[in-house]
């Protein structure tokens, strides 16, 4: 057999980028690891506020004023979103070994440019003021604009939402498997979703059980797929039990869809094609099809059969992101794949409509940014700036404009489309506070590894220390109200001894039809509004200030 093997990389070694990802190196032998005696932070960020956090307290008891009220997914560990300067970090309390291992793995996956949350730090050697050791903490950056699947279902979404989430998960799983990542715990709960034009993009958030290999065995891939199927069906059955799932969704069918989508994508990406030597043009068709799926082809491995009658071709696919890399190169915009495709299409349309086909695309792209894209996204109302990505906004406006034009029978100016979109469609981006509360309470209901909660178990009836915990929660609820409406809280504190009124008040408010933004990152629970701008402004200060005003407007009506 003659062999034209272009691929020189040996399959046996890990990607060098992954090898040098971090200074943290966990061994397979936990006994060789020593818990540091004093607080130890290994971080990718130089944010000095990391040191000012109350590491000496169990995460479940951190003061509410540090926490960002964002929807949490189901986890067996205690997880909280914490304001650290301008950033929001997700903190997870786990053992040192698991924390270090996951940090190391996430760093490697980041270096391989895979869609995962960004690891920020691993914090070990935590102790209470009394000197009792506390579990280590893994810190990751909160993925802006992302939502856990439960929050997506809490909104009125299109009936095919479940299927679109599954498609995103299938792409993620294929990308991870191509890179040699065995997940060991695939589920909707372990990913975050970002809107990506009309689809979703999935990001891995939990790598606890994962492993990076030079390449995966079929057994590893099949195990991941089978587990994913079981978990997805379970998660949908759970939504169904909570009446959160549209009646017509067939849970098992959706689970099976993942298996099908995965297999068809995997074979599209990895199957060996067989051509006649005079059909070599078909190679290009295969490559184009892979680009359409969003994947880049790095190398082609070509072999001829011994008799020379057929050519066998296997593409070596590196990763998704074909369109988004092209857009990044042209415009500097870093967006999801489908969004990028939509934006590139609009750029093409702009080029055609301005009769500039002959000009360099790079130059046209600069003008398109200045004349089309930027003026449009500047119109995003401030209160939505933390909730919708500019590229997603642009995409949705384009869709909206198309629908308007179809209805009107003529073209609609961009500005008009934007105004119409903002008033008619954008409000769907809000998640009401009751939903948020439910989501986070549900998330708490699944936590297994919370020591306080555990010891309650050993007092049989769940009494003992758990009582303390409940009180903490109730206090916290009271605080939550305080953050929004100081006057109301004063009333609460005077009348409510049991601590339940806090929740009740919120509920009453929601019944009155009010909503809070889905990501009220600016929620302050210190009572004072003035502290908001200075301490908890995410992104730009202006956005925060505007957001703050909007919050006032919303709450003023109660």
């Amino acid at each position: 057999m003659t062999s034209v093997n272009i691929n020189r990389a040996t399959a046996s070694s890990l990607d060098p980028r992954a090898m040098k990802a971090t200074s943290i190196k966990t061994t397979a032998d936990p006994s060789s690891e020593q818990e540091p005696a004093a607080l130890h932070i290994t971080a990718t960020s130089s944010n000095p506020r990391m040191f000012t956090l109350p590491w000496e307290r169990p995460l479940a008891t951190w003061p509410r004023d540090l926490l960002a009220n964002l929807p949490r997914g189901i986890s067996r560990h205690v997880v909280r979103f914490v304001h650290v300067g301008d950033d929001v970090y997700a903190m997870k309390e786990i053992t040192q070994r698991v924390a270090e291992r996951e940090y190391e793995l996430l760093r490697k996956l980041q270096k391989l440019e895979l869609p995962t949350v960004n690891p920020i730090a691993v914090v070990t050697g935590r102790h209470t003021r009394e000197g009792e050791p506390l579990e280590a903490m893994l810190v990751t950056q909160h993925l802006k604009f992302s939502l856990p699947y439960r929050a997506l279902f809490a909104r009125n979404l299109r009936p095919d939402t479940a299927e679109r989430l599954i498609d995103a998960l299938a792409v993620l799983l294929v990308r991870l498997h191509l890179a040699g990542f065995y997940w060991g715990d695939v589920s909707l709960s372990n990913v975050l979703f970002l809107r990506d034009a009309d689809a979703f993009s999935a990001f891995l958030v939990d790598a606890e059980t994962g492993d990076l290999h030079p390449s995966l065995t079929d057994g590893q891939r099949e195990y991941d797929i089978d587990l994913a199927r079981t978990n997805i069906i379970g998660e949908l059955m759970d939504l169904d039990s909570g009446n959160l799932l549209a009646g017509e969704v067939d849970e098992v069918g959706v689970g099976n869809r993942l298996v099908d989508r995965y297999h068809s994508l995997w074979s599209a990406l990895t199957d060996v094609d067989s051509f006649d030597p005079d059909e070599m043009w078909k190679i290009e068709r295969r490559v184009n099809r892979l680009n359409d799926l969003g994947f880049d082809v790095d190398e082609l491995e070509m072999k001829t059969e011994e008799n020379g009658n057929r050519v066998l071709v296997r593409p070596r696919v590196v990763d998704a992101g074909y369109a988004s890399r092209k857009l990044l190169r042209l415009t500097g915009l870093d967006v999801q794949e489908n969004q990028a495709r939509r934006l590139l299409n609009d750029l093409d349309a702009y080029r055609a409509s301005t009769w500039r086909q002959g000009e360099d695309l790079e130059i046209v792209a600069t003008d398109w940014m200045r004349e089309v894209f930027e003026p449009t996204v500047r119109m995003i109302p401030p209160e939505y700036r933390s909730q919708i990505e500019p590229a997603q906004f642009f995409h949705e406006v384009l869709t909206h404009r198309w629908l308007m034009a179809e209805k009107a029978g003529h073209d609609v100016p961009m500005a008009e489309a934007v105004q119409s979109y903002i008033s008619e469609s954008l409000p769907e981006y809000r998640l009401d506070s009751e939903d948020m509360k439910t989501i986070n309470e549900e998330a708490d209901a699944g936590v297994v590894d919370d020591e306080m909660n555990w010891q309650g178990a050993h007092a049989q009836a769940g009494q003992g220390k758990q009582v303390t915990r409940d009180q903490t929660d109730k206090d916290a609820n009271g605080h939550e109200v305080k953050g929004h409406d100081a006057a109301n809280t004063r009333a609460t504190e005077q009348t409510d001894v049991g601590g339940q009124t806090g929740a009740g008040t919120q509920k009453d408010r929601d019944r009155a039809g009010e909503e809070v933004p889905s990501q009220p990152v600016f929620e302050d629970t210190n009572g004072g509004r003035s502290s908001l701008r200075s301490v908890y402004a995410p992104g730009s200060l202006d956005a925060a200030a505007d957001q703050d005003d909007q919050d006032d407007a919303v709450w003023a009506s109660s």
Binding site: A28, P30, S31, P214, G219, Y223, L239, E442
Partner: protein
């Protein structure tokens, strides 16, 4: 339920020359709790993953019951990986949380209920079956997660360092729970850990593995009392065994100025490769303080003492005259100090030189060349 057999199984990772698991032959009896224990990189997880179907087998075969599963897909093997990162579903009752996988598999409703009730009984969750996870404590939630694996009634449970993501306090509780549960359920179990204490306290039998090669398989007491080689001797037991190499003269081990008689049958087994030396091992509890002029005792300079109330520990250096031939080569850990357990009321002072007598019946003797047991 079924017996598991590894039949001359070898796994070589692509690109590696050395096998990660080499010619492993091991059987796990029907209903047995077998713990596979060894240090970092010894091949224990690879072994478990081969049984799970996650790693390919390069040579040999694996049987579950009378089925050859060597090339079978994981989901067809009828195994359950316990303690994956299970989270509970908040809207489902405890019963549904435990039984949903059976529902997916199309198991009839009556049978699901029956199996769930049986599992709940074992897990002490019967009265909670119709509640939601929210109403449960963390410990009960953990048991619901275990219930998920139990209701499937797999042929084999696989547990890969299941306690590693629990903190130290919960680890001890859960350890006891898992062991008790396995005995009640009687399901063949392969449990992988690096922790010899876990192995000793949980397993019916323990298999010690090092660098891909099986060292010894046996009941915990067998491994503790009669380690087959130096590695097992040093690995099993905490605090670990004192292991030193000493010169042999006239059927006696020379320890510094002192000599200790060795059993004839052991000395006879020494070969020229052993270069007139022998490995002497003894556990901290198998030695005692001796009088200053007592024979069959050696001198120890006390470096540290610990009084734990019930026990006292002496840590010290064996006195030698520092000649090369007589240098006692320490092979155990304990910061290279020799450890002796004594009555805490008899603890010497740091800096004292004391005489130590080893119980001759509890001495472990090995060949320095082959590292195999001699007595």
């Amino acid at each position: 339920m079924a017996e598991v057999v590894f039949d001359h199984v070898t796994r070589i990772y692509p690109g590696n020359d050395e096998p990660s698991v080499s010619d492993l032959s091991l059987d796990i009896k029907d209903g047995e709790f077998l713990v596979l224990v060894g240090p970092s990189g010894c091949g224990k997880s690879t072994t478990l993953r081969m049984l799970a179907g996650l790693e390919e087998v390069n040579k040999g075969r694996i049987m579950i019951g009378d089925k050859d599963v060597t090339t079978m897909q994981p989901k067809d093997r009828d195994i359950a990986m316990v303690f994956q990162n299970y989270a509970l579903y908040p809207h489902m009752t405890v019963a549904d949380n435990m039984g949903f996988a059976l529902k997916i598999a199309g198991t009839p409703k009556d049978e699901i209920r029956q199996r769930v009730e049986k599992a709940a009984e074992v897990l002490d969750l019967t009265e909670y079956l119709d509640r939601k996870p929210k109403a449960l404590s963390g410990g009960q939630r953990q048991r619901v997660a275990m219930g998920r694996a139990i209701v499937r009634q797999p042929k084999v449970f696989l547990m890969d360092e299941p306690l590693s993501n629990l903190d130290a306090k919960l680890r001890v509780q859960t350890r006891t729970q898992i062991a008790a549960l396995q005995r009640q359920l009687n399901v063949t179990t392969l449990y992988v850990t690096h922790d010899q204490t876990e192995a000793l306290t949980m397993g019916d039998r323990i298999a010690v593995i090092k660098l891909g090669v099986l060292q010894q398989v046996g009941a915990p007491t067998e491994l503790y009392d009669r380690p087959e080689n130096v590695f097992v001797a040093g690995f099993i037991g905490s605090p670990s065994m004192n292991i030193n190499i000493h010169p042999v003269a006239n059927g006696q081990a020379k320890i510094g100025e002192d000599t200790i008689s060795l059993p004839r049958e052991a000395v006879d087994k020494l070969t020229p490769e052993d270069q007139g030396r022998i490995v002497v091992g003894f556990r901290p509890e198998d030695a005692s303080l001796a009088g200053a002029d007592e024979p069959e005792a050696f001198s120890l300079k006390v470096a540290n003492v610990e009084d734990l109330g019930s026990d006292g520990y002496i840590y010290g250096n064996i006195l030698t005259d520092n000649s090369v031939a007589e240098q006692a080569i320490v092979m155990s850990d304990q910061n290279k100090l020799t450890t002796i357990r004594v009555n805490p009321r008899d603890l010497p002072r740091v800096g004292d030189v004391v005489k130590i007598h080893i119980d001759p019946a509890k001495m472990h003797l090995f060949s320095p060349a082959s590292e195999l047991r001699l007595n």
